[in-house]
Structure formats: C-alpha cells, structure tokens
C-alpha cells in the first residue's frame, strides 16, 4: 500500500514511540536503580539518572550479597537456572517433536484422542494443576532434585501442536519418496523431518528457554535445599529481607543480570527465530 499522509505517519510513529516507552520504562528504572546506593533509593523516588555505585553494586551481587541472605552465591544460582532452562528446553523439544511425529505419521488406535488429550492440557496452566502435580512429585520422592525441578515441566502441548501443524504441511510425497528410497520411519524422521524442522526447533528453543529461565512458582515449591535455588527464587528471597531494609540496588542489579541470558539467546537466535515463525522451507 502506497500512502503519503504525513499526519498518519506522525500518528503511527507517536503510538510506536509511546508503546516503546511504556514497555521500556520499568527496565530503564531497574537499570538506573541498580547504580545507586541504598540510602538514595530509600529516601525518595528512584532517580532517573545513573548514579555512581554501578561497580559496587554489581560486584557485591556477584560476590557476597547472596550469602548474606543465606543463599548460595549468584553464579551458583545462575548455573541452576541455566541447567533447569536448558533441560526443560531440550526435553520439551525432544518429547514434543516425537509425539507430533507419532500423531501425524502413525496410524494407531485412539490417535485422535491422544492428540486431543495433549491439546486439552494447553487449556490448563501449571498453576491450576499445581497441587496434584506437587503431590505426585512428592510421593515419587523427587523433591529437591533436578528431576523434580524439570520433569513435571517437560511435556509441552504447545510445542507438540506446533510441530504437528508443521508436519502436516510436509507433502506426503516426501514420505513416499523416502519409503521408495528405502528409509524406514526413524530414518525418515532423522534424515528428512528433523532437518526440515530446523527453523521451527530454533524458534521453539528461544521461547522454551525463556519459559524455563523465568520459572518461579514451581522451583519455589519443590526445592527447599538452597543448593537447588534458581535465580528467580534467589531474587525473591532477597526482597524478603529479615532486618527490614531491602537492598533494592542489589535486587535490581541481580534482576538486570538475570535478564541478560534470555536477551543473548534472542539476539543470537533472532534470525532463526523469525524464519521459524514466518516461513517454511519448501
């Protein structure tokens, strides 16, 4: 559409900029807050200009701050978060791509029912079924373990659904050509379907990594051993300080650092991410 109406251009840009400011302001405030000392933050509204305690705050959070709250140190928690996010991502993709493969390419009894049961779980957020889930995990003795942290979150109806939709767009002739070429089901999956799903897998990795990284409620419930604390939980513990003075500058510094890995993932996977969401390789 070719349009040349300066006022409309102005208006759309104004909206765009306004939207950007609304989204970016909290992040900006967090970054600014992480550069001041505790007395500045306690004495009034958060200043909108950078302060002079940037290095202090960040080195404190990375070294000693967490220990003061009885937490493992920052890098330990970051590592826990990373392990959890990566395990969830890898597990979700492996399980959902295989279930989608089964649902699309195999004729077994109750195939459609299986699909709908998977699909229906989309309707229930984790929080709704958190009681029964917790009970099962507790009964299986998986509290305070990596398995307890990751396994209950590892199935993904969304990813299964996305892979199913993608597989259904792959022409049947491709499967038939592969069969004539002597490829069995798993060989077809490995040699043809998997490479074709590359961009979809990339896009899902980004989404699922962020999903795993920001998990808060579930780790909070199943881990009492500080050795398993993730960053999100650690940040929360620092807010509920015992002595009354919450060290917001450190909490903010920790939060800003915690934002970095998802940002890096998005930046480096962006090309794949956008391709996976917008085009299919055919």
């Amino acid at each position: 559409m070719v349009e040349n109406r300066p006022f409309l251009t102005f208006l759309t840009h104004a909206f765009l900029i306004l939207g950007f400011l609304v989204v970016a302001l909290p992040v900006y405030v967090a970054i600014m807050a992480s550069t001041h000392d505790v007395s500045t933050l306690m004495s009034g509204p958060v200043p909108l200009l950078p302060g002079s305690h940037f290095i202090d705050n960040y080195s404190t959070i990375l070294t000693s701050a967490a220990a003061a709250h009885g937490l493992p140190n920052y890098s330990h928690m970051a590592l826990n978060s990373l392990i959890m996010a990566l395990t969830i991502t890898a597990g979700k993709i492996a399980i959902s791509i295989l279930s989608a493969f089964a649902i699309v390419y195999f004729r077994f009894p109750f195939r459609l029912l299986a699909f709908w049961i998977i699909f229906v779980t989309l309707m229930l957020p984790v929080e709704v079924r958190i009681m029964p889930t917790y009970k099962i995990v507790a009964d299986l003795g998986m509290l305070n373990s990596w398995a307890g942290l990751t396994v209950p979150l590892i199935a993904s109806a969304t990813a299964t659904f996305l892979f199913r939709q993608f597989f259904m767009t792959v022409p049947d002739e491709l499967l038939e050509a592969a069969r004539v070429d002597g490829a069995g089901p798993m060989k077809f999956f490995r040699d043809i379907l998997l490479p074709l799903s590359r961009t979809n897998i990339g896009a899902l990795c980004v989404i699922l990594f962020i999903y795993g990284w920001v998990q808060y409620l579930w780790p909070l419930l199943v881990t009492t051993d500080p050795g398993y604390y993730t960053l999100m939980m650690g940040m929360k513990r620092m807010v509920t300080a015992q002595d009354g003075v919450i060290e917001w500058q450190l909490v903010m510094a920790g939060s800003v650092l915690a934002m970095l890995p998802p940002i890096l993932v998005v930046v480096f996977m962006q090309r794949l991410f956008i391709r996976g969401l917008t085009e299919t390789e055919k």
Partner: protein
C-alpha cells in the same frame, strides 16, 4: 529389467468405495505402459499399489515373477517419479540422487559413479551442489528422474510427472522421457490424464474409467478402434463426434439425413455413431451428405475446426483452412470411417475396424 504382472487387482477403501476393480495388465519387459483416464478413474491408485504405497485389497502384483503384495516399496526394486517431484528440500541435488543408494549401503565410489552417470544423461551435472529450491521446474523434474535412474530399478513408475510444467517444457520433457526409456530399456508405467501424452509416450495404453479397464492397446489401435464411447470421446483431440443414429438395413439415419453404408452396417436399429473430426469433409455436390449448420470455428493453423449441428446434434469437423465456409453446408464421411457403438452399453459393435488400425506400429529408430 523385468515384466510386471497385475492380475485381478482391486482397491476398496474403508467405507466401501471401490477405486480399482479387478484390473489385469500384463506388462512385458522393457515395455512403456501408459495408464490414462479422467481424474478419479483409479489410475494413480493402481500405480501406487504397484509401488507399494497403497495396500492391495484383492488380486496380485508380480514384479519380475515375484509376488510383491506384502513387500515394502523399497524392496520392490522400483523407482517412482512424483508429480510434485518430492525432492528432499534440504539436500543438494547430489544427495537427493544418492539418498536411496546410501540407504542400500552402496559403496561410496559406486554412488559417485552412478550419480555422475545419471547427471550426465540428464544434463544436470552443473547443478549437483545446488539445493532444489535454486532450480527451475524443468531442472527439478530432471533431478526427480535422476533419482529414479541411479537406482537402476526393474521398473520406473511415473505419476503424472509433467503436469506441473508449462506446455512447452512438457513437450520437450515428454520427448526426453521417451528417449531415456528407450535407451535404458526399463519397464515403465506412466500415469497421466493427458491423452496426448498418453498417445505419444505409450507402447500400449490402458484407458481406465471408474476403476475399470475400458481398453488396452497400442495408441493407434485405441485411436482407430475405440472399444467404447468413453474411449472414443477420451482419446483424440478434438474428441470423436458421438451422435445418435438409426440403422435401416444398409442406410444410416442421423437426424433428418440418410446416408448409405456400403455394407458396413454391423446391426440394425438405434446406435451411437462415432466419427472423428478429421474423417468429415465438405461434400461434393453429387454425393450423399449431412446438412450442417455452422455455429463457430476454431483456428488451429494447419486445420480449422468447424463446430455446428446436424439436425439437433453437435458435430465438429476438421477441414482445411482454405475451404470457404457458409452458414449451411453439406458434409460427407466415408462409411468405413464410421464407428458404431451400442446405445445401451456404449461398447463398440463389431464388424468394422478401419484399415488404419491394422497399420504396423512404428519401430523406434534408436
């Protein structure tokens, strides 16, 4: 190299829809068979049963003397060319060609040699490192054929391989398929809905309709002696004129006109009369003729098609463009060029096979 024997093969889908009923075809080693028919006639289903991509409901398919009903496609020693090429989009042309051989555990050196040979034959050597996406339709078609050739199978199965190409490319690829098949001498089954493709490629063609065989025969045989009104109207362009006529002794009445048959009448009473457009001509003043009312013309260059009516029945005639036209004309036909079909069954009535049908088939000069 091997013959294919299809005997009494049927396909019934769940729900009772019968796609193919009791079809038998014997295909000799090296023969080029074309299955032709309108969409939904079961030709692709039949091919896919030979390929092993569809289960056979009843009957038997033998390839090289071995019953293959329960054999996986890859074990049947066939290669298939698909309508939409079905190239693996993420593999280079080389890998597309080599994939089937790799799966068979063919030694690397032999794969290289075979791919190189097929690529040379199809003139796609310079594209071996490209992905299918970077190829034109015709080149993709060549790659699809290459994938079949490298396997050196007992039979090629083509499922409408040219339908996705533009008209000009289709003609040249058609020639190429024929040339390749002659050169390799591989038994081939080719499915198409295009009667021209069927006529030009086939050693023998099999006309299918509603899951049943209407006629099997050499292209000219089918053209000159169609076994039914269906075949008559399906093979040949323009389609054969089919009109209602009545036989009175040695005379044929079509609408208001009456022409003598010189002893070619096979029966008497009402029949369907078939006549090819090119067998009709403008009548001389002194001969029996059909009164023809011209409606419109189509120019083909070498020929002119004149469409009109005789009585209340549609007739198309092919005449030389030099002939002057008028709204009312008289057209004539040699009695021996008429085809008679039963009004009830649509089957050809025996008694007259035009001389052309007995022409010797053209031996390939290759």
């Amino acid at each position: 190299m091997a013959g294919i024997h299809i005997s009494e093969v049927s396909k019934v889908y769940t729900g009772g829809v019968k796609a193919v009923s009791s079809v038998s075809i014997d295909i000799a080693d090296g023969e080029f068979i074309v299955l032709v028919g309108p969409s939904g006639c079961g030709k692709s289903t039949l091919l896919r049963m030979v390929a092993g991509l569809e289960a056979i409901s009843a009957g038997e398919v033998k390839i090289a003397g071995r019953v293959v009903n329960e054999v996986e496609p890859a074990e049947r020693d066939i290669a298939m060319v698909f309508q939409n090429y079905a190239l693996y989009p993420h593999m280079t042309v080389y890998n597309n060609l080599a994939y089937g051989l790799k799966n068979r555990g063919t030694p690397k050196a032999e794969i290289d040699a075979r791919v190189a040979e097929a690529a040379r034959m199809l003139e796609i050597t310079q594209y071996l490192e490209r992905k299918p996406r970077a190829l034109s339709g015709g080149q993709r078609q060549r790659v699809a054929m290459g994938r079949a050739i490298v396997r050196k199978p007992a039979a090629f199965l083509f499922d409408e391989p040219l339908s996705n190409l533009d008209a000009k490319l289709r003609v040249s690829m058609r020639g190429e398929i024929k040339r390749l098949q002659r050169r390799l001498g591989t038994t081939s089954i080719y499915v198409t809905h295009d009667q021209l493709e069927a006529m030009t490629l086939a050693d023998r063609l099999v006309v299918l309709n509603g899951g049943e065989i209407e006629q099997i025969g050499a292209p000219l045989e089918v053209y000159h002696a169609p076994a039914s009104t269906f075949v008559a109207s399906f093979i040949g362009s323009p389609a054969m004129n089919l009109v209602r006529g009545e036989l009175h002794g040695d005379k044929l009445a079509i609408g208001p006109a009456m022409i003598s048959l010189n002893g070619f009448a096979p029966t008497s009473g009402a029949v369907t009369v078939g006549v090819r457009a090119e067998d009709l001509r403008i009548a001389r003043d002194d001969e029996e003729a059909l009164p023809f009312r011209l409606e419109y013309t189509e120019e083909l260059g070498a020929q002119r098609l004149i469409h009109g009516t005789v009585g209340d029945q549609q007739i198309t005639a092919a005449v030389s463009p030099e002939i002057a036209l008028s709204a009312e004309m008289r057209i004539a036909v040699d009695a021996k060029r008429l085809h008679f079909f039963s009004l009830d069954t649509g089957k050809r009535l025996p008694g007259n096979v035009p001389a052309e049908a007995k022409l010797a088939p053209v031996e390939p000069v290759l």
